[in-house]
């Protein structure tokens, strides 16, 4: 079955897998952070990712702000948007069943995507790569921008993980998840921390969107198509685990890429099948340490 598989094809698809995996990992991580503290499944994560890409596109085309500027500005803009969203629609229902927060963020997705599509149409808008060219590694051609995305996403994921697992701020976050009353009694403003965490997670989605803009086209539905995979990643990795989300994200991206080489018809379904197997054989998630 390995006939006709050239190194170019293998490594090319492997690279695409790692690139896709970078986005899965960053988005799943943001989702896990938000879920970990607020028990909110942020369905709007995909729409917020799309907003990041759109803000970058708007900055470039209307204000002439280049990619590197957008990489800083767009996540902040999207995070501010998240701040407003949290105050307007998530905070009022924080004490209700968590299903409502999933549904309200779903509804927000409909509105955000609909408005963008109404304004800019549903076809993809091009965004030129800020790092044209690449290097020939002998067995494959490595575009600079793709290398940058992989490095940047790995660093971002590691930094975020360290921030949450190994700093005092992260300890507060995890403690507030366990018992908000006690953390509050230490003089910490838990509601504000919740708002800022949500904004942080949303900002991460926006950042991923800027990163994605030169690779995928900027289109209104770029987020919601990705959300399906992200949900599967989070279900496979186990809901609360940040490291689990990151590792599962990269792993599934690579598996998907390899499937494209060895069994192209199955590439779109492989993540779903892994989810099925994980649910049947590891019902509590690969990285959740046994608790459901």
């Amino acid at each position: 079955m390995f006939d006709g598989i050239t190194p170019q094809l293998l490594f090319g698809q492997l690279l695409i897998g790692v690139i896709n995996g970078s986005f899965y990992a960053m988005l799943a991580m943001g989702l896990a952070i938000i879920f970990g503290l607020m028990h909110v499944v942020n369905f709007a994560h995909g729409a917020q990712y799309m907003l990041g890409a759109f803000v970058a596109w708007l900055l470039l085309n209307y204000l002439g702000v280049p990619y590197w500027g957008a990489l800083v500005i767009a996540p902040v803009v999207v995070a501010c948007f998240g701040l407003v969203m949290e105050r307007l629609i998530l905070k009022p229902i924080a004490n209700l069943d968590h299903l409502y927060s999933l549904l309200v963020t779903y509804a927000a997705t409909l509105v955000i995507e609909g408005l963008i599509r109404q304004q800019y149409g549903s076809t993809g808008l091009p965004y030129n790569s800020p790092l044209p060219g690449g290097v020939n590694l002998g067995f494959m051609f490595m575009p600079w921008y793709r290398l940058w995305v992989v490095v940047f996403s790995v660093v971002t994921c590691l930094a975020t993980w360290l921030l949450i697992e190994h700093t005092k701020l992260g300890a507060y976050l995890r403690a507030a998840n366990q018992s908000p009353e006690i953390v509050e009694s230490f003089g910490i403003n838990v509601p504000r921390m919740v708002t800022l965490t949500y904004a942080f997670g949303v900002g991460l989605a926006g950042l991923s969107g800027v990163l994605a803009a030169p690779i995928y086209q900027v289109s209104p539905s770029m987020g919601s198509t990705l959300m399906i995979t992200i949900f599967a990643v989070v279900v496979i990795g186990g809901m609360g685990s940040i490291l689990g989300a990151i590792l599962t994200g990269y792993l599934l991206g690579i598996v998907e890429g390899l499937t494209k080489v060895f069994y192209p018809e199955g590439a779109n379904l492989v993540i779903f099948f892994i989810m099925l197997l994980a649910l049947i054989f590891r019902p509590s998630g690969l990285f959740s340490g046994g608790k459901n």
Binding site: H98, Y106, A107, G114, F231, L279
Partner: protein, 309 residues
């Protein structure tokens, strides 16, 4: 009072096709069944199926394929499609009940996309173009129902049947256990019941009903498309149920009617139908969680209580 309301409703339903475009009415009826199937899960078992459209859409294609390739009468084709849908529901239930609450929603969502993708790739569905030219064969092999107004009464009868099924399920001992699972699952388990089994069975019934709605819809329009399997339709049925009133029998009917009429009005304005749906869903979740019917019921009870004083 209640009997009077039912009689008025029945009279309206019988007279409606003489005043309103029958196809619009039949669309509403199909979605009434669809919303009732969703409500059975979320309203009475507390399970949020975020992929209810997979049953609607799959069944529409199955019924269409049966009617196109065989000559069997329409009611058998619809029943067969509903059974296939119920089988899918049992399988999805079997896998998804392993996780509770929010994850159940995410798993069903992923499942629905999987079904969407399979249908997109399959030969018989016609891919992006959809399945065209589904014939309306004779009912029981003898009664001609090609006229839209005649067909409306068939769809109406099927809707009444489906709602009756939901009513029987909800008001049976089985339904009582479902509601108990919704309210306190550990206690049900401690009484010696297996909640998973009841959930899977509820999922099967719900999927069967949703499939029933989808098959009916395919015969109403004469075609089946991928829209019926898409996540926007899965979201639409959530909106219908919440807007009408979660866990009430009439709520989903009212919600389905409002949303279908609104879609019909907004169809010419492009994206605004979906935007409006999103805004309404946000408002319902923030301010009107009992839904239109639930709030009306609460109002009536309050007035009665005041009069009793």
């Amino acid at each position: 009072m209640r009997i009077a309301l039912i009689l008025i409703g029945a009279a309206l339903a019988l007279a409606a096709p003489f005043f309103v475009y029958p196809v619009l009415l039949m669309t509403i009826l199909c979605f009434v069944i669809f919303a009732a199937s969703f409500n059975l899960l979320l309203g009475y078992v507390g399970l949020l199926c975020f992929g209810q459209a997979m049953f609607l859409g799959l069944s529409a294609y199955i019924a269409g394929q049966i009617l196109k390739t065989t000559g069997i009468s329409i009611e058998l084709a619809i029943m067969a499609a509903a059974l296939v849908s119920a089988a899918l529901g049992a399988f999805v239930g079997f896998v998804a009940v392993r996780r509770s609450g929010i994850q159940f929603a995410m798993i069903t969502f992923a499942f629905a996309q999987f079904v969407y993708f399979l249908l997109l790739q399959s030969e018989f569905t016609g891919g992006e173009d959809g399945m065209q030219g589904i014939p309306r064969t004779h009912l029981f092999g003898i009664i001609d129902i090609s006229d839209s107004r005649t067909f409306y009464y068939f769809v109406l009868a099927m809707t009444v049947l489906a709602i009756f099924v939901v009513y029987r399920v909800v008001h049976s001992p089985f339904g009582e256990i479902l509601k108990a699972i919704r309210d306190n699952e550990p206690r049900v388990e401690s009484l010696g019941f297996r909640p998973e089994r009841f959930k899977i069975l509820a999922m099967t019934i719900s999927a069967g009903l949703a499939g029933f709605a989808g098959a009916l819809k395919a015969t109403v329009f004469g075609f089946a498309t991928l829209t019926d399997v898409s996540w926007t339709v899965s979201g639409e049925v959530i909106l219908m149920t919440l807007l009408g009133g979660l866990g009430t029998l009439t709520g989903p009917m009212v919600g389905a009617g409002i949303i279908i009429l609104m879609n019909d009005e907004l169809a010419q304005f492009g994206e605004w139908a979906l935007i409006a749906q999103g805004i309404i869903l946000i408002l319902v979740i923030l301010f009107l969680r009992r839904g239109v019917v639930g709030e009306a019921g609460a109002l009536v009870r309050r007035m009665k209580a005041r009069r009793a004083k």
